[in-house]
């Protein structure tokens, strides 16, 4: 699924009054939810035991932003070395192939590259911390060419 397509979807949903929208591409999984806070609509017959599992942050975002997610589990580093300048920060302009950050897994430094041209809006992941598969690392605002 292409970004343009996603944008159309996001716009469509944004124009609607759904409160939640989950899409999982590749054989498509789509959830739209008009839930008041607390989500009492979905029956939760089984309470979560203590302690609850950590849930990644999902703040409401500006429509059209693209999330860069972790393609693997690893430790997130913003800079090539301790004390060095971070690869990017909020406001940085990036183009495809630019290194955004490093994920270290089993002593291997995996450079995560930008796939689109755009501007870094926010670096979400914390330096030196473990990130899960699929966790949002940063958000980009795509350039309209």
């Amino acid at each position: 699924m292409k970004v343009e397509e996603l944008l159309k979807l996001v716009e469509a949903v944004g124009a609607s009054d759904f409160d939640e929208f989950v899409l999982e591409a590749q054989d498509v999984k789509l959830t739209l939810r008009r839930g008041r806070p607390g989500g009492s609509l979905v029956p939760q017959p089984e309470p979560a035991p203590v302690p609850a599992a950590p849930v990644p942050d999902q703040p409401v975002r500006e429509p059209g932003l693209v999330e860069v997610t972790a393609p693997m589990v690893g430790t997130f580093y913003r800079a090539p070395a301790p004390g060095a300048e971070p690869f990017v920060q909020a406001g940085s302009r990036v183009k495809p192939g630019d290194t955004l950050c490093i994920l270290e897994a089993m002593k291997l430094m995996n450079e995560i590259e930008a796939e689109i041209e755009g501007e870094v809006v926010d670096v979400v992941a914390e330096n030196g911390q473990l990130v899960e598969f699929g966790q949002v690392l940063m958000t980009l605002r795509p350039c309209k060419p």
Partner: protein
């Protein structure tokens, strides 16, 4: 050892988390995308997403699992069963990363992982293996070998499979002709006329011995489990003790299992699987170098927590018990409740469990993941709960299991409960006089 990553999901992940908690160990769960709502994620102290739903990309993703272990500060990894549990490379990688692998050494896993090599090792260690031969040259040699092995014998085309090129020989008079036929079938089907011979085990029972070992050379056995109720090698119901074992035979099989474990310097919990024939002869099949699905029946009659014992052995502690401390009390049964429809040829029935009530009350133990409102993911195995009961004797255990399954309620998906009730009601099963062919016969009696 302070923090254990559990590289698994489902009921065994819960089992390990519970054992860790009782030992004061912190737990890290891993999960695939789509498995967020699975109970092990909620029960652990922390959970890390390790990849997309397909197991090769997540629960078998060694790199992500190890990165999750290291990144979360775990110092040990428990593999459960299935997935990476008998992967020697994974065990080795754990060690390379400074992580304790809760299981035996990579060498032990490898030694038992190669079935031919394991058979030779066991024979050398004095563990009975099914008597067999190399290639049989001709009818004369065949007759000599068969006399040694003793009838009935099985002739098997070297390249054979699926019953092709296989001939059962009950007595000497049938031998020459059977050899000729096996040769021809092998030649026709696989262009290979080589034929081996091995002893044929009539109506065998699948009886396995649980062993526990530590890193200090101590090995004990905890008696046997009878796992003969199988459908296409899938165990459906297990019991301990085995109705066919005398105390003397139990001791002999237990000692053989201990020899098997010693031969590979085993450590932790393991299971030596035997075929038991009607005359009380037993033969090594394989060793499972991990905790088994059916371990609870042994726990129920010995009072020993096998998963805790695994963790303690992995932490380097000496076994808390000696052989003479192992005492058996009563009888235990386990039914594996799968999300499968026995009326639809055991097709998986994933979906949302809309209603669920596990049985409760005296001597009923549930190791399950089923919960009302939970969607059984289609990607993994279909075991949703193990119902385990204990009774003073076999009759009480059977009555209790019938009572427990009778009050169990699962709505929204089909399960194997009706089949389990049918097995429990069967006269052959109730007499305890069954073998690995039992379930096929029972199902065939249904007209299937």
């Amino acid at each position: 050892m302070k923090r254990v990553l559990i590289a698994n999901r489902g009921e065994i992940a819960l089992r390990v988390i519970r054992a860790c908690r009782e030992l004061g160990l912190e737990t890290v769960a891993v999960y695939a995308r789509g498995d967020e709502d699975s109970p092990h994620v909620a029960l652990a102290d922390r959970a890390v997403c390790i990849g997309p739903a397909p197991a090769p990309l997540s629960y078998l993703n060694v790199q992500n699992i190890l990165a999750a272990a290291l990144g979360s500060g775990a110092d040990a990894v428990h593999p459960g069963y299935g997935f990476l549990a008998e992967n020697a490379d994974f065990a080795e990688l754990c060690a390379d990363c400074g992580l304790v692998f809760v299981g035996p050494s990579p060498a032990a896993i490898r030694a038992m992982g190669n079935k031919d090599r394991a058979r030779q090792l066991m024979a050398a260690a004095g563990v009975p293996v099914i008597p067999g031969t190399g290639a049989v040259a001709d009818a004369r040699e065949a007759a000599k070998l068969a006399g040694k092995i003793s009838y009935p014998v099985l002739l098997k085309a070297a390249a054979g499979g699926g019953g092709k090129g296989m001939r059962l020989v009950e007595e000497p008079g049938q031998l020459a002709r059977a050899l000729e036929l096996a040769r021809r079938e092998g030649e026709a089907a696989f262009s290979d006329a080589t034929v081996y011979m091995e002893k044929y085990i009539r109506r065998p029972r699948h009886v396995e011995i649980q062993i526990l070992a530590d890193n200090h050379g101590n090995v004990v056995h905890l008696g046997e489990r009878d796992c003969s109720v199988q459908r296409r090698h899938q165990k459906l119901l297990e019991e301990a003790p085995c109705p066919a074992l005398s105390p003397a035979l139990r001791r002999r099989m237990g000692r053989a299992a201990v020899r098997a474990a010693r031969a590979v310097r085993y450590s932790g919990a393991g299971t030596v699987e035997f075929l038991l024939d009607e005359q009380g002869n037993f033969y090594f099949m394989e060793m499972n170098t991990r905790i088994q699905v059916e371990h609870p029946v042994t726990e129920m009659i010995t009072g020993i927590d096998l998963v805790k014992a695994q963790l303690l052995a992995a932490a380097g502690e000496e076994l808390a018990i000696r052989q003479e401390d192992v005492a058996f009390r009563g009888w235990a049964l386990e039914c594996r409740i799968n999300a499968e429809d026995p009326r639809q040829d055991f097709q998986p029935s994933p979906g949302v469990i809309t209603g669920y009530r596990p049985p409760e009350g005296p001597w009923v133990r549930i190791d399950g993941v089923a919960r009302a409102g939970w969607r059984v993911p289609p990607h993994y195995d279909s075991l949703i709960a193990k119902v385990i009961v204990w009774g003073q004797d076999r009759a009480e255990a059977i009555a209790r299991m019938e009572r427990a399954l009778g009050e169990m309620a699962v709505q929204g998906i089909a399960t194997t409960v009706p089949l389990h009730l049918k097995i429990l009601a069967d006269p052959e099963f109730r007499r305890g006089h069954y073998d690995t062919g039992f379930l096929a016969r029972l199902l065939a009696g249904d007209g299937r």
